[in-house]
């Protein structure tokens, strides 16, 4: 497709539009503009702009100044700028660095919060990403996180074991809990062909009620308490804090990064990963090549579930150690889907996307506290980012970026001129 316009543009009789040197320079620029990273960047920008529109629309001051827009437009633009600027600056300072911090700890605290919040997102996002690449749409991270938290938390506060062993067992327990829960969907898909989307959605709901029920039974409920809350996780089963007690950042974040490396190795360097990808790319071909699609399905779901279970462990053994509640998974399971999408199901991408969304979430709380802009704007920005990322042609159309493999602007212009010349040969001759 890319060759055709080029030959057409270089027809004899057409002027040569650009010199060789110019072409090389443009080639590099084009390559940059065509890359998926630029699309990602512009998608984030577009989503932030749309978020800004919402922030401005709901701002009282902007609304009043818009009332007399034609009398004094400058007032409107000032109000607009300050509303959006304040909100986004608070978001940034809540997510990365707090410029107003009095101590060094306060200044860097936001970035550690971002890492803490992103830990479950990275874990679960990695699992969902593996599913995507194997052609499975696992919406069940939410339920798998809950089951991981149940089992991890239960191991944590039930047994009394030496320091290292206790944490290890609790973490393994969390992974097993998530893996077993996800395997239900995997086994059903492999044996009966049950749609994994529906089964995992249903398992999410079952998990919510299951934890609600278990928190009213002696298995999870703290003794002598009427609320549905478990006993706190003992220190021996907690992830050690990385930067001392001033920060919430714990070893779970490092584990998440390690998991990303392991997932990279698994998907890119191991036989198992090759099978996963082969089944995802073309299950019929994979079957013909002698792979068991059913077996791969069960494995993928189990691994994805184990990673989601680890996300649950990051919560119950790291961030929220005061006791397991029904809200342990928050909306991490659903956010992780968008994280995996944004990260294009690759481990590095997922880590970066997890950090971005973790930052948006951590910063969102700061923004809500400082400027009163509700944190829900973060959801809007997140979903717009994913929508734009999923539709690169849309982003390219908005920002007039070149299409990969498509004609350059100069070529298009030449093409148009040629078409015009062909359509009106008489007028061209007269003008000549």
């Amino acid at each position: 497709m890319s060759d055709e316009p080029t030959t057409e543009a270089r027809r004899p009789g057409q002027p040569v539009l650009e010199s060789k040197v110019d072409e090389v320079g443009r080639g590099v620029l084009r390559e940059i503009l065509e890359s998926s990273w630029v699309v990602t960047l512009f998608a984030v920008v577009a989503a932030l702009v749309l978020g800004a529109i919402l922030i401005a629309a709901a701002d009282q001051h902007v609304q009043t100044t818009a009332g007399y827009f034609f009398a004094r437009p400058s007032d409107f633009f000032n109000a607009l700028g300050s509303a959006v600027g304040n909100a986004y600056s608070a978001l940034f300072q809540g997510a990365v660095v707090n410029f107003h911090g009095t101590t060094f700890a306060r200044v860097i605290r936001p970035i550690t919060e971002t890492m803490t919040v992103s830990t479950p997102l990275i874990f679960a996002g990695l699992g969902i990403g593996i599913g995507f690449r194997a052609g499975l749409f696992n919406i069940g991270a939410q339920g798998q996180i809950i089951l991981g938290a149940i089992l991890g938390g239960w191991v944590g506060f039930t047994f009394h074991l030496p320091v290292g062993l206790h944490l290890l067992l609790a973490v393994v327990g969390a992974a097993v809990g998530g893996a077993v829960w996800a395997s239900i969907a995997g086994v059903l898909k492999a044996t009966t062909g049950a749609n994994e989307v529906i089964v995992t959605i249903m398992l999410n709901n079952v998990a919510v009620y299951l934890i609600g029920y278990l928190l009213t039974t002696p298995m999870l409920q703290a003794p002598g308490v009427n609320n549905p809350i478990s006993p706190p996780t003992p220190p021996s089963a907690q992830y050690p804090l990385l930067l001392g007690s001033q920060f919430r950042l714990h070893l779970g974040f490092v584990l998440a990064l390690l998991a990303a490396v392991v997932v990279w190795w698994l998907m890119e360097r191991s036989t198992l990963g090759l099978r996963f990808r082969a089944v995802g790319a073309n299950p019929h071909a994979a079957r013909t090549a002698g792979m068991s699609v059913a077996w791969v399905t069960v494995w993928v779901m189990a691994i994805a579930g184990a990673l989601s279970g680890l996300a649950g462990s990051a919560q119950v053994l790291g961030t929220e150690t005061s006791g397991l509640t029904a809200g342990v998974a928050a909306s991490f399971g659903f956010d992780a889907i968008t994280v995996a999408l944004l990260g294009r199901s690759k481990p590095l991408g997922t880590v970066l996307a997890g950090l971005l969304f973790g930052g948006l979430r951590a910063g969102g709380f700061a923004m809500q506290a400082r400027t009163g802009t509700p944190i829900d704007i973060v959801l809007v920005v997140q979903s717009f980012i994913v929508l734009f990322i999923a539709a690169p042609p849309l982003v390219r159309a908005i920002f007039r970026l070149p299409t990969p493999g498509g004609p350059t602007r100069a070529q298009r212009r030449a093409q148009k001129r040629a078409a015009r010349a062909a359509a009106q040969p008489v007028t061209e001759e007269v003008q000549a």
Partner: protein, 428 residues
């Protein structure tokens, strides 16, 4: 549905070769359930209690006195009849006879009655209230599953039902509150749903984005936008933007006086009557009209549809937007339908349940209606038993429909088959 096709296309083939292996799933499942009912509702509980079923509501013209039955004896009889039905299904399966859906349906009713006898021992169960509440709670599920059917039959997977419901609920509340008329809210709700439908279909058809991804993201987007507007605009001035404007109950004269059926079916709001109309129209038009034929052709085999001159993408766009509008109308249930003000994420995952109802109903409007009613019933049963007091924890009750759906999707109820080309963008 597949049986007549086989006989029509291959009448000459020897019948023996066409025989499929006997499926014992249904008889086994029914027998196990029947035995559970027999043992746990009929034999194990101590006798001597009575379960009272209240049939009339206070406002009925003809009052029927409540029926009190001995709990264990009735449960015993009901479960024995249910087991007899299970035996019938063994006989049918062994002889490869098709008995239709009435058998599991009647079995289900008997089982639930036996369960109610047990759960309501020594108490009063308001039967009419239980049923009318079930219909009421299933309204968004029915509209949602109708939307799902419209979209999936035309080849677009609509995971965004949840978002369409939420958008409909939001706009219905705002418009009804601003105008003071709940009926204007009913008019506005489909617009919000259709807008979500537009986004879904634009990304699915124009940009070929994975439809499940778009659906999931649109759900998050609608949650974000409605939450944001709720906590900024709506809470700033509740009296103007988010007043409670309930739809009035319109009793159909005459019909609403029939015992049990009257209060359940004909003493409802306009939204419920619209639901009857929607299901009937969809069931007829989907299978008996040119529009329905084209819609299904596009969803099953778009290339063939294109060959005979049907514009595939235009058909998809129009019907997905229509589907969004239907789900949006269902969203009105949460605010004007239920007489509540708008609240954050008030649809609470009902869109996903609607999706399950659609699959359980095998992409058929009537089937989906009954599946949705099943969900609505179990939801309301939990509430009712919560009020009268029950031996079962409420979470286990709430969990049941989801577990049932998993079993259903896994093929215990029968293999379900989605429209062949759903989720695949059409390119020439």
């Amino acid at each position: 549905m597949s049986a007549p096709t086989t006989t029509r296309t291959a009448p000459a083939e020897p019948r023996v070769a066409a025989l499929t292996p006997i499926s014992w799933k249904l008889p086994i499942a029914l027998t196990v359930l029947g035995l559970v009912a027999l043992v746990f509702f009929g034999i194990v509980p101590a006798g001597g209690h009575h379960t009272t079923f209240r049939i009339s509501t206070a406002s009925d013209a003809f009052q029927i006195s409540p029926v009190a039955v001995p709990s264990t004896a009735t449960a015993l009889v009901l479960s024995i009849v249910a087991l007899a039905l299970a035996g019938l299904s063994w006989w049918a399966a062994a002889g490869r006879r098709r008995l239709g859906v009435w058998l599991p349906a009647v079995f289900g009713v008997l089982w639930v009655l036996a369960f109610l006898c047990w759960a309501g021992a020594g108490k009063t169960i308001p039967l009419t209230g239980l049923l009318s509440g079930a219909l009421f709670l299933s309204v968004p599920l029915v509209f949602g599953s109708m939307s799902g059917i419209l979209c999936e039959r035309v080849g677009i997977i609509n995971i965004a039902i949840e978002g369409q419901l939420l958008g409909g609920a939001f706009l219905a509340a705002v418009v009804a509150s601003l105008s003071g008329s709940p009926y204007l809210g009913l008019v506005a709700a489909p617009i919000a749903g259709a807008l979500v439908g537009v986004l879904l279909v634009v990304f699915a058809v124009r940009y070929w984005v994975d439809q499940i991804i778009v659906g999931v993201v649109l759900n998050v987007l609608v949650i974000g936008v409605t939450n944001y507007l709720f906590s900024t605009v709506l809470t700033n001035n509740v009296g103007t933007w988010n007043r409670r404007t309930p739809l009035p109950v319109l009793a159909v004269p005459g019909l609403s006086e029939i015992p049990v059926i009257g209060p359940v079916l004909f003493r409802q709001t306009l939204l419920v009557y619209l639901l009857y109309v929607a299901v009937v129209i969809l069931q007829i038009y989907l299978f008996r009209s040119r529009w329905g034929l084209r819609l299904r052709a596009v969803g099953e085999h778009p290339k063939a549809a294109d060959t005979v001159g049907i514009n595939v993408n235009r058909t998809r766009i129009r019907n997905t937007i229509l589907g969004g509008a239907v789900a949006g109308l269902g969203g009105a249930f949460f605010t004007v339908g239920a007489g509540l003000a708008f609240g954050r994420e008030m649809t609470g995952g009902k869109g996903y349940i609607a999706l399950a109802a659609m699959i359980l109903g095998r992409w058929n409007p009537i089937g989906a209606l009954f599946a949705a009613l099943l969900f609505g019933f179990s939801d309301n049963l939990q509430t009712t038993l919560g009020i009268v007091g029950t031996p079962i924890p409420s979470q286990i009750m709430l969990m049941t429909p989801y577990v049932v759906t998993i079993f259903a999707v896994a093929g215990l109820v029968g293999r379900v088959r989605a429209p062949a080309s759903e989720g695949i963008p059409y390119t020439k």
